[in-house]
């Protein structure tokens, strides 16, 4: 518990967005192998009290983005470029000491698998109080009292008893609540939740999402939700960034995105969500191929091989000319040469009615 870890001296500004990510790139370099660019010039920002979603299939780079923001990527074999600012303070290239001071106090993270994310041999109580001791310098007694309050706040019944228990003695939902309690221990400005509900039962999922929503409303925390689940996005996020093969391909407000997806990939994601009102026996509508079919962005559009709208000019013959992310109406950005269009739209350069009508409703 260092003295400079006290909250008032965090040195973070409040007149800028909580988190600003600009042109973030992450490349994995292994000896004897081709470097892999997992995240490619991703930019977004989150304001206090705002929730944004990073959406995409497994392997699209959304988790790597969050780990890069937290500074949790291994140092060896990873190249991180661009800029990540927390309250105006640059995090990329910051010292290990600075990062450890900010992590847990100003920015916190909730992970996907609550069981493996908790230390099996340490009681829940210690795993909560250690954050309080580290960042707020609380003594054992105060920290335990505060930890019980935290568990109570995230809806864990009988918190004093739970503090003494080990992770394997808690249910899945309670474990995730405990992890959220640890993340909230120091009222961070930024909370990143990486697929926080994937490992949980559907009923528990709803409870955890409700809990996260309440927290954002109550504390004004900026929340970054990382998910592949569009249901989570619909219920929680203000703005959504859809990622494919390491790049953002569409950005829009939640309502716009669900009403009028423009990128055929987004349209495909929405169309592939099973619908309760569809008749029995109606087959699901998948996106054909898999994320492994992605081609390098340098050749145009990585999604082109799987895209129903793809045309010849989606793949450029000149290497290095990626389809750019461009302004696409107020609050929207789009990376696509042949986006989905909708009947009222006056332009309608390309027809894509069938996919869009399935997705747009």
């Amino acid at each position: 518990m260092s003295i400079e870890a006290m909250p008032p001296e965090s040195g973070l500004r409040t007149d800028v967005p909580v988190l600003e990510v600009e042109d973030l790139s992450v490349t994995f370099v292994r000896r004897g192998e081709q470097p892999t660019r997992a995240v490619d010039e991703v930019s977004f920002s989150v304001a206090a009290g705002e929730t944004i979603g990073l959406v995409g299939e497994s392997g699209c780079g959304k988790s790597v983005t969050s780990l890069a923001v937290m500074g949790l990527l291994p140092r060896r074999g990873v190249q991180v470029g661009g800029s990540v600012r927390l309250g105006g303070t640059e995090l990329l290239g910051a010292s290990d000491r600075t990062l450890r001071r900010l992590r847990g106090s100003e920015m916190a993270m909730v992970f996907q698998d609550p069981l493996s994310s908790l230390n099996p041999t340490v009681p829940i109580g210690t795993q909560v109080t250690e954050v309080l001791a580290e960042h707020r310098g609380l003594g054992k007694k105060e920290a335990t009292a505060e930890a019980a309050e935290l568990l109570d706040r995230v809806g864990i019944p009988d918190p004093t008893r739970r503090l003494k228990e080990y992770p394997h003695q808690l249910s899945g939902g309670m474990r995730q609540r405990a992890l959220i309690a640890m993340a909230l221990a120091c009222s961070p400005r930024l909370l990143i939740a990486d697929e926080p509900t994937t490992a949980l039962d559907v009923t528990i999922q709803a409870q955890i999402l409700e809990l996260l929503r309440e927290l954002v409303v109550d504390t004004g925390t900026a929340l970054v939700m990382i998910t592949h689940d569009l249901g989570v996005v619909a219920g929680l996020c203000d703005r959504v960034h859809v990622m494919y093969a390491g790049k953002v391909i569409e950005t829009a407000d939640r309502h716009d995105l669900f009403a009028r997806p423009r990128q055929p990939y987004t349209g495909g994601l929405l169309a592939s969500v099973p619908r309760l009102d569809a008749g029995r026996g109606v087959p699901l509508t998948p996106i054909r191929g898999s994320a492994r079919d992605a081609i390098p962005w340098a050749e145009g559009c990585a999604f082109a091989p799987r895209c129903d709208n793809a045309q010849d000019d989606c793949l450029t013959e000149v290497a290095g000319s990626t389809v750019p992310l461009e302004y696409d109406g107020p609050g929207r950005e789009l990376r696509c040469r042949h986006p989905l269009t909708y009947p009222p739209s006056p332009t309608g350069a390309t027809s894509s009615g069938s996919t869009a009508s399935g997705a747009g409703r």
Partner: protein, 349 residues
């Protein structure tokens, strides 16, 4: 809103006790089976105790008299039942070599082996865990490669070869350390427990304690090499596993100091498999190191068994091996209990 809590963990308070009793009861069939095997094996050895005691040229009459004296003329099953009847009263008979009771011999020899085992394991653990940890943290650099190759060598090198090498170099050539026995004879030490180092401390004969300790160094290093090599490898592999665990990432995400992450989240979990290894290796070493003790003429269990085999000392072999089996099972029981204390997930339910 809250989901129902699984009510595990608060089990029967006597569960641990019953676990111990069950394990101790398992000793009965183990010891019975072992005693039958031992009995049969010893009597299948060429040449009997009489021949060994009286020499190659002993007359048949002398041998017959000897056998009668020690009850060796009876049918084998009578001998076995007699042995069993006395063994349950902890009477394993008399050594045909020294004429003293097996129990006395054992109590005199065992402390030496215990001292030697403790020395070897303190060396193996004290060097092995830090070395394995460092090798893992410096994964891929020269220290790591040296540790990996070194531990392979450590496992592969024959103990008696290493023992001779150490003795030749440090005792014979350089003369830095004593190369045989448990204590200099000229030191007139008082022995209470037969743990010579402990005796020296108890009687405040510091020179005797120090001398006994010096006598442990060379055989202890030779004996500790294999456990050391195994501990280095297991610690290294275990740390490499644990640092990639999700909960270590969580600990880092919480902004804990590097030291807290290391102590509470990495080392604590990484040592779980290592602790099992330490327990098992200790059990093995306690069973006596025949080769090492012979090279250093160290008066422990190992050299006693070595002598007993050559003199066909049935009583000593039977008694020693059965008592060692009990010790081995007890050490294993201790390992299992301690594992439950270290890892809350395997606590007896």
């Amino acid at each position: 809103m809250p989901e129902p809590a699984p009510d595990r963990g608060k089990g029967d308070p006597h569960a641990v006790l019953r676990f111990i009793v069950r394990r101790l009861l398992q000793l009965v069939p183990i010891l019975l089976g072992l005693s039958v095997l031992l009995f049969a094996w010893l009597r299948a050895l060429p040449g009997g105790p009489a021949q060994a005691a009286l020499g190659e040229r002993a007359t048949p009459e002398a041998i017959a008299r000897y056998n009668e004296l020690f009850g060796l003329d009876q049918p084998i099953w009578v001998q076995y039942l007699r042995f069993l009847g006395r063994a349950v009263q902890l009477d394993f008979g008399t050594s045909s070599r020294t004429g003293r009771t097996v129990t006395t011999e054992f109590l005199e020899r065992m402390p030496g082996t215990v001292e030697l085992t403790l020395f070897a394991m303190v060396f193996a653990v004290g060097v092995g865990i830090p070395l394995g940890y460092l090798a893992a943290r410096k994964h891929g650099n020269w220290l790591d490669s040296t540790a990996v190759v070194g531990s392979l060598l450590g496992v592969a090198i024959p103990v008696f070869f290493l023992a001779y090498l150490l003795r030749l170099l440090f005792a014979v050539e350089l003369g830095w350390l004593p190369g045989s026995g448990r204590q200099e004879v000229r030191i007139d030490a008082t022995h209470i427990t037969n743990f010579y180092v402990l005796d020296g401390l108890l009687t405040r004969e510091w020179d005797a304690a120090w001398d006994a300790l010096l006598h442990l160094v060379l055989p202890g290093l030779a004996l500790g090499t294999i456990p050391l090599a195994i501990i280095v490898r297991i610690t290294r592999a275990s740390v490499l596993d644990v640092v990639n665990e999700d909960y270590v990432r969580t600990a880092n995400a919480k902004g804990l100091s590097a030291d807290t992450v290391r102590r509470r989240h990495v080392i604590r979990n990484a040592l779980l498999p290592v602790s099992t290894t330490i327990g098992l290796q200790t059990g093995l070493l306690l069973s006596g190191a025949v080769l090492t003790e012979s090279v250093f003429a160290f008066g422990g269990i190992g050299s006693a068994i070595y002598d007993a085999i050559f003199t066909r000392d049935f009583a000593v072999l039977q008694g020693f091996i059965l008592m060692l089996a009990v010790i081995y099972v007890l050490v294993n029981l201790l390992v299992d209990i301690s594992y439950g204390l270290l890892d809350p997930r395997v606590r007896v339910r």
